[in-house]
Symmetry: C2
Subunit: 443 residues, 2 copies
């Protein structure tokens, strides 16, 4: 009987394998997509795009046993050849090609010049040709960094005793936030797409104490800005048995420290391609909402109209102020007014006009909203009632509290926003593989 | 200025911390939810439910500085007390309680007896009281195992050079599989929820060579069975530069090997709670579709009507046959008829009636569908045309092929199905935190 016993070593080598083994002078087999061909007459440089980077291969008349014309850009190929130390090549070595096997050929030439270092192309064109534009080495490096963030989030939280959960994205229509939700029909019943795993992760605090989820959320908001998406990836956690809401901020800081470390350790090549350094996260300033508002109004001589929330420009200026005065890229703004926070937010016992909540700003952009939640059933019911809210449809959420919940709190991080500022972009679509916005439903 | 510098050590200790430090006789602080109280007169056993397990604490008149009546089941509490070695306690030690701080109290008694070892409760009742029923130690252990599977999938694939991607769940209505999709309105345009990340992950093979995603998928199928969900978590990967479709099965086998190892190493406590052992995955038999069909028909003397697919009973019997004859829990069934596979499946060049595809059966249940895909643009177009398919709406998918794609293939694994049989359950809802089926949209 035929059996499968696990992953066998491939005959083809990856860049890191050749580098690790010091294979100068050895015969190897490599594959990849033909990124560029530069024909110099008797010699041609054929650069392969591999998952770990670009690999310079050299076609030499006489040595290479095929015709250069047999190879075209965007072919995928397998070469045999000899490793040759070459300081000027991107990896410090090149492959002197002997034979080729063509694995596949394109049907049409490229619509975009992906082999340029920086693609001189509009965002619109890049998004319209997503399967191709992401083949650019800089474009794809952003999403390697995005992987590092998600990976750092999970690995750090596993180490802190969190359990990963998967909560449903289709739900019944509930009283909370009926607006801004996409609606659908679920076997002849009205349903919505969840705009956050908030209720579920809180319910699961009663089960696992500490939980997290990394999953899509859906917001039917009609914002058309550089920072809004209608579907995005939310990094959520919720933790029980907290002594203060500062523990939540400490956990987020720990995540950022762990992740910047991980990026520098395992994603150094991608950071280098993008020409970026990770921001300082050893200590993150915290400032009260009302103080931050005042500091900005004074320093920049501005008046802001909304006393209950921060306008985007105000957030931006808070970021600027803390960068200028403390060289801080991140700022925790705490104690948001109760009026602008959801009913489940815990009011500050010392001044119930405000809540034990926070936003984390990164370069003046909100990337996290979090805080302590009410854990007492009667208190939760009372606050909902005081707001004139219907609790119909929230029975399952409330049941968790009815039967006992520890003090807890948590947060949600917008993955694409965090990625965007880490990789030095200004539009969140640049940090999204396939963005969904008011006008974009494809690809 | 106040700053946050990262995670501080908590004063309260977790079970593993006490075990690691050999703290017999030491004074400690612990917290948890009151799982049970057994009053023996002068002494009472108060069992705390903590994320790592149950912790036996002892109330002793005279020593404990509070009234036993102050404590009720489902309170969350913080105790101070002394560690006492005790072989009969679940962790090998207990805490002799000195003081208590009540952190929270329930508003009503429990609707289910969660402190029983096995809850003698219907699935329906467990699902209707999900926030409470999952507090049962056995119930929650299933989802720790589920975490281990997802974690193993990602960690193994990171190590194999895969990049994690996030693809959109809301999409435009496309020609492929318009049936079985949930429909919604997206800013006055018709949209659907993706039933698989298939097209996106293939497009990303052209970018990263090897990609994976762990995310929800949505199927509007009207099946009401023990093995169907309308929303589930799909573990997907897709890999380029394959030499044969067996490489995909080898990668899945590698994932299973890595994951069973991880479960035995880091989830041993949960395996023990559930009383289960991980299945053998050192070698997984593979059998051709047509052979498997014949073997089952002969051995069990059955006739099956559908020559192009496996009926559920047939799958079950294949599982039984391979268990009986080879002691195998897993079987790869390969070379499914082209007729029943999607248009992008690669036909077997040696016999194009069949495809280079496979399902993985676990205990006779399909948990994976995978295979090699067509990578040549013209071939893909031709196969779609031969089926009379419209390619309208698939332009972005096809563009990836038009501009060159390596030979590739991949698979999708149903996380809940895999979890179900690993933890010894027979209904996929038992392995889903909040299942979505024909009748269930809440909690």
């Amino acid at each position: 009987m035929k059996v499968i016993t696990g992953v066998a070593k491939k005959e083809t080598l990856e860049i890191s394998e050749i580098l690790a083994r010091e294979m100068d002078g050895c015969d190897v087999r490599v594959n990849g997509a033909v990124h560029t061909i530069r024909d110099m007459g008797d010699v041609a440089f054929i650069v392969l795009r591999k998952r770990e980077g670009l690999l310079q291969c050299v076609y030499e008349k006489g040595l290479s046993e095929f015709d250069l014309k047999d190879i075209r850009e965007a072919d995928t190929v397998e070469f045999t050849g000899r490793v040759n130390r070459e300081e000027r090549a991107p990896q410090g070595f090149e492959i002197r090609i002997r034979t080729v096997r063509i694995l596949s050929e394109p049907a049409e030439p490229m619509p975009l010049q992906i082999s340029k270092w920086k693609m001189n192309t509009s965002l619109e064109a890049k998004l319209n040709n997503r399967a191709v534009s992401l083949r650019n080495v800089r474009e794809r490096a952003k999403f390697r960094i995005q992987e590092g963030i998600t990976r750092g989030f999970r690995d750090f939280l596993y180490g802190q005793g969190f359990t990963e959960i998967h909560t449903p994205k289709i739900g019944a229509k509930s009283a909370e936030g009926g607006a801004n939700m996409f609606r659908l029909e679920y076997f002849h019943r009205p349903a919505i797409l969840q705009q956050s795993p908030q209720f579920y992760k809180q319910m699961m605090v009663g089960v696992f104490d500490r939980v997290f989820e990394t999953a899509p959320v859906f917001r039917a908001e009609k914002h058309n800005t550089k920072r809004h998406l209608n579907e995005y990836t939310s990094l959520d956690f919720e933790m029980g048995y907290i002594d203060s809401f500062e523990e939540i901020m400490a956990m987020e800081t720990g995540f950022l420290q762990y992740t910047m470390d991980l990026l520098n350790r395992e994603y150094a090549a991608d950071l280098e391609i993008l020409g970026i350094e990770t921001p300082r996260v050893d200590s993150i300033p915290q400032v009260r909402f009302s103080e931050a508002k005042q500091m900005v109004a004074e320093k920049y001589d501005r008046k802001f109209r909304n006393p209950f929330d921060l306008e985007p420009e105000e957030e931006y200026l808070i970021g600027q102020l803390f960068k200028e005065e403390y060289d801080a890229d991140f700022v925790f703004v705490t104690h948001y007014p109760s009026k602008k926070r959801p009913f489940y937010a815990m009011d500050d016992p010392e001044d119930p006009v405000y809540t034990l909540s926070f936003d984390l700003l990164f370069c003046g952009l909100e990337i996290t909203t979090g805080g302590q939640r009410i854990h007492d059933y009667h208190e939760l019911i009372a606050k909902a009632a005081a707001r004139g809210m219907e609790t119909e449809g929230m029975e399952h959420y409330l049941a968790a509290f009815k039967h006992g919940m520890p003090p807890h709190g948590g947060l949600g991080i917008g993955l694409e926003r965090l990625t965007m500022h880490l990789v030095g972009e200004e539009n969140v679509r640049e940090a999204t593989l396939f963005p969904r916005d008011l006008s974009r439903l494809e690809p």
